[in-house]
Subunit: 254 residues, 2 copies
DNA sequence: GCGATGGGCTTATCTAGACAAGAAGGATCC
DNA sequence: GGATCCTTCTTGTCTAGATAAGCCCATCGC
């Protein structure tokens, strides 16, 4: 009689913490987003395991973005929003979040004229000593910070930008209403990175988690002049960035 | 004298395991991908901590896709490939991997005529009883399984497909060479999901990790006939899916 | 030569116990 | 009434010890 062959090895039974995670995931799917989840000690008692085993299950669910945990407060059912972007689609934050049933909020730092970093100078076609307006923006869903973006706006195209752009202004609205421009995405690039310490701090991340990164440039549709170069970071536990193009992409079911 | 105010709280010093992870990340950046990392016990001795603390550091690096760990073998420096896709870009797996210095490999299951799932029938415009060829494909980088894809091909457009498509054939080549078609992406949608148990098994994932998912449809450029509907899953520790469009997107530095 | 066996390495999992630190709410003091 | 302290609950971190299970390779037996 041969021993168990290595290729067709019988499935190892899943670990306890994984079973608890799966069980819990099913139950949480029926609860309201934001609802308080049982504490680690409660779960340990419920499933008859050590607290660290229950904790491992919650960490597994956190990796799946199914829960969100805060020291001192507890574990909560997570709520994630799809944010669909693509060449044919530059969605409004406010509209998207509201349609999904959330409360959107945007906050801009005060705009200042600065010497932009090298990548922004190159994108905007500025020289070594060129200046640009620096716009930093944070967006919330309900009480959750979702994105932080940093963008540089060419002062030649939008003179006096710092007086037009208020704390709650929409960049798109300011460009179209005050400057009568037709902004258009020249290019865009979406990927995932480990948050740098600076970005982690801006997004309120404890560790160096993965974040969605969208870089791009906004040009003027008619003249082709370069308006804005930007980089936006999104917390993946709050936002599910979906990148799509072509007709029919929106109809895809999960 | 007031206590430490809560708003401007001094940064809590990072946890030991996080310090070790950061230290280790710097060192590993100078090593060859695939190199063996010190074992948990060695790290524990090196940093004078408990084995579980050293282990927590490695788990942190695994979350960042900086290392890859295998039970019984050890921890290894991870190697990730950028795979850039977009409306103007349908890259060849072989070329992309080879350019990045890896060894590509593709393996197709034998093609069979099946009754496709509802989403594929809808995409291909098939009726309730319609049939389609089912093509399952796995792609490797060096020894690492990277993607698993499942696609359905319309038999009306490519009759006799199961005889043309071999174990190592390229779908694109078969469509162009044998059927003289000009395949074109009708739409595409890229996002991230928690792997289902079935997908996790196909990709050799222990747990239910996050995977990149790309869905889409291939049409015939001239006639517009629907050729193929597909869904592809990629291991995020092997592949970094980058979604981009527009001129200039390729020039973006990190 | 060649396959089976087993030892020793590795990561994976689990328990028990402990202390730290953040958050929230009630009690207390003025 | 309002600010402050304190208690309690929560997650976060760390240690110590133990067992399981996968993998590799040397050794043994044939």
């Amino acid at each position: 009689m041969v021993a168990m062959p290595r290729t067709a090895a019988a499935e190892a039974p899943p670990a306890t913490y994984m079973r608890i995670a799966d069980t819990l995931a099913q139950r949480l799917a029926r609860r309201q987003p934001g609802a308080l989840v049982e504490s680690e000690n409660e779960l340990a008692a419920m499933f008859g395991v050590n607290r660290l085993t229950a904790r491992a299950a919650l960490e597994e669910l956190e990796r799946r973005y199914a829960v969100r945990r805060t020291k001192g407060r507890g574990t909560f059912v997570a709520r994630r929003f799809d944010y669909r972007i693509g060449p044919d689609r530059t969605p409004s934050w406010t509209v998207t979040v509201r349609e999904a049933g959330g409360r959107p909020r945007t906050e801009n730092d005060r705009v200042r004229l600065v010497r932009p970093p090298i990548w922004a100078r190159r994108e905007l076609g500025l020289g070594e000593d060129g200046r640009a307006y620096h716009l930093q923006r944070r967006r919330w869903v309900d009480e959750n910070l979702a994105t932080y973006s940093s963008s540089f706006v060419s002062p030649e195209v939008v003179p006096g930008f710092e007086r037009r752009m208020g704390v709650e202004s929409s960049l798109h609205d300011v460009l179209t209403d005050f400057y009568e421009l037709a902004p258009q995405r020249a290019w865009s690039r979406c990927e995932f990175e480990v948050a740098s310490p600076a970005v982690a701090k801006q997004l309120g991340l404890r560790g160096r988690d993965l974040v969605s990164v969208v870089r791009g440039r906004l040009d003027c549709e008619s003249s082709g002049r370069r308006i804005e170069a930007s980089v936006a970071y999104a917390r993946m536990d709050v936002l599910n960035i979906v990148y799509e193009f072509g007709v029919g992409a929106g109809e895809v079911r999960r």
